[in-house]
């Protein structure tokens, strides 16, 4: 039967995970706070652990958790860092 699909097939392709990083020494890691309450405290601890492992960290924040990150923030991350830790959600 010839059906009209409700799906946009361009968006259905599953994305593959990037390979895990074996060595954090010297890697540029962004910590992205999504601005839920006390998320920063959790990221503080993550940052400490990453620095112990030799990563170079930077801190960033979304204006609100309820909307996608602003394009300028995404561009900045793409340009300046190699890895991103995003948190903290429910």
């Amino acid at each position: 039967m010839d059906y009209v699909s409700p799906f946009d097939e361009r968006t259905r392709e599953p994305r593959r995970l990037a390979p895990r990083t074996a060595d954090l020494r010297g890697r540029r890691v962004a910590l992205l706070d999504i601005s839920k309450a006390r998320g920063a405290e959790f990221l503080d601890e993550i940052e400490r652990l990453l620095r112990e492992r030799g990563a170079a960290t930077s801190r960033h924040a979304k204006p609100t958790f309820s909307r996608p990150a602003p394009p300028e923030l995404v561009d900045e991350l793409v340009r300046d860092v190699e890895l991103v830790v995003e948190g903290l959600a429910d």
Binding site: M1, D2, Y3, V4, S5, P6, F7, D8, R10, T11, R12, T64, F65, S66, R67, P68, D90
Partner: protein, 457 residues
């Protein structure tokens, strides 16, 4: 010669064949034409134990159609190629007379079923197409109408199918009119409903609605649809008895069509990108028409700046409705207090004040009480706002706001940050004093969005 038309999904056909099989009816005089594939016809013959010939006739069932058989079992008695008699359904006495056999047992007669070709859309097996929709993942859990090209063209009603309404978050599938029409067909909409579906999608895509946040949240809320103006009557929407529940095709399928656009085209499938912990029943789809005729006030769309004779669709993110019974309040103020108290518990009982919108659906009997008291809508809104107030000390537990935690224990805290967070419509049946308040979708910075319906014909 008697041709006995039957198919395996008709219990009466199976009954007839079993009885005839048990009676060893003479195969010289009787041939069964099964509206089945050869394999299925063979299974039917084995199952019913018939000794006479069973022929298989698959789609498009030319012999059945040629004999005008639209029900099974039907026995067509032929003499020299001409029909002299027909027996529709199971009729033991008629078969005994025709075949000269005894057919004991009950029932002696029973109505039949539709012939295979009455409802199989040209494909084999009747329900195969509907199962196919489930297997493809084109469903919300209930059966959907397969979106054939013909049905989608009829739904589009001459519109350009490549026109785009935008990209639907969170998956960013593009909402071409063709895809929106496919979802409307899936939902069971009539083409007459399509302009409202389009308007609802446009409203949901307004950035101020924040469809993205609402789609992926762990909260239970989902978009609901409120219709105002002449569209209600034009498409047959229910604004009266049972308005928040099932029963009216326009209401059920319109609400469902918007949800299918968001979940299928937009990718917000529960358990995938839709992370709602519990969901809520209204996420199947909810569309209500305001009962403007029973309302003492200006309708929602007029309040929001549209002409009374404009047809509009308002999309609002809401949790399931909380029913508020009040058959005892005698004054407007008392009733407002009851509505306010009920609303106080919605979304999170102590998260006061909340900067989220609440929708009240006031039933006609309650609206009549406000009318008799001479209360305008603004007065009711203010009264609800003022009555939903508590000292901070009562709110300082569990999930509460930084505002409450920082407040003096005796500070009076309102449920909402502002009275303008309160939306009010009138809907429901004429008898019964049950209003409702919808829980909000919190923290999304969203607002209800109203769009005018554009008719092309």
């Amino acid at each position: 010669m008697t041709l006995l038309f039957a198919h395996a999904d008709c219990p009466t056909s199976v009954l007839a064949l079993r009885r005839l099989g048990a009676a060893r009816a003479d195969g010289a005089a009787l041939v069964c034409v099964a509206q089945e594939t050869p394999e299925a016809a063979a299974r039917l013959a084995r199952r019913t134990g018939v000794a006479f010939t069973v022929l298989a006739e698959d789609s498009p069932y030319p012999v059945s159609r040629a004999h005008g058989v639209d029900a099974v079992p039907t026995a067509v008695v032929l003499e020299r190629g001409e029909e002299i008699e027909r027996v529709v359904g199971w009729d033991a006495a008629a078969y005994e007379r025709l075949l000269g056999v005894q057919l004991p047992g009950e029932p002696r007669s029973k109505p039949g079923c539709g012939a295979r070709w009455m409802y199989d859309y040209g494909a084999r097996g009747g329900l195969d197409e509907l199962e196919d929709m489930f297997e493809r993942g084109w469903s919300d859990g209930l059966p959907v109408i397969p979106p054939t090209r013909e049905r989608v063209e009829a739904m589009l009603g001459g519109r350009d199918r490549t026109d785009s309404l935008g990209f639907i978050p969170p998956g960013h599938g593009e909402a071409t009119l063709e895809r929106v029409a496919a979802c409307a067909v899936l939902a069971g909409c009539k083409p007459a409903y399509f302009p409202l579906v389009v308007a609802a999608v446009e409203a949901a895509l307004d950035p101020a609605f924040n469809a993205h946040g609402i789609a992926v949240t762990t909260q239970p809320a989902g978009p609901i649809v409120i219709v105002n103006g002449p569209a209600r009557e034009r498409v047959g929407l229910n604004s009266g008895m049972g308005v928040l529940g099932p029963g009216a095709r326009a209401n059920m399928t319109l609400g469902r069509a918007l949800r299918l656009v968001l979940t299928l085209t937009g990718g917000a499938l529960p358990g995938a990108l839709d992370r709602s912990t519990l969901g809520n029943p209204a996420k199947l789809g909810l569309c209500l028409a305001e009962n403007e005729e029973a309302s003492p006030w200006e309708p929602l769309h007029v309040e929001r700046g549209f002409a009374p004779d404009a047809s509009t669709v308002t999309v609002f993110a809401a949790d399931a409705p909380l029913s508020v019974s009040d058959h005892r309040s005698l004054t407007a103020d008392e009733l407002a207090y009851v509505l306010a108290t009920a609303a106080g518990a919605t979304w999170s009982p102590f998260w006061w004040p909340m900067d989220y919108q609440s929708l009240f659906v006031v039933c006609p009997e309650h609206a009549a009480l406000f009318r008799a008291a001479g209360w305008r809508k603004a007065r009711l809104r203010e009264a609800i706002f003022e009555h939903a107030v508590r000292p901070a000390r009562e709110l300082n537990r569990g999930e509460t706001t930084p505002y409450v935690k920082a407040a003096d224990p005796e500070d009076r805290v309102h449920k909402w940050t502002d009275a303008d967070r309160i939306l009010i419509v009138v809907a429901g049946g004429e008898a019964g004093r049950f209003s409702a308040v919808f829980g909000p979708c919190g923290g999304m910075g969203e607002t209800a969005i109203t769009k005018e319906v554009r008719w092309t014909t």
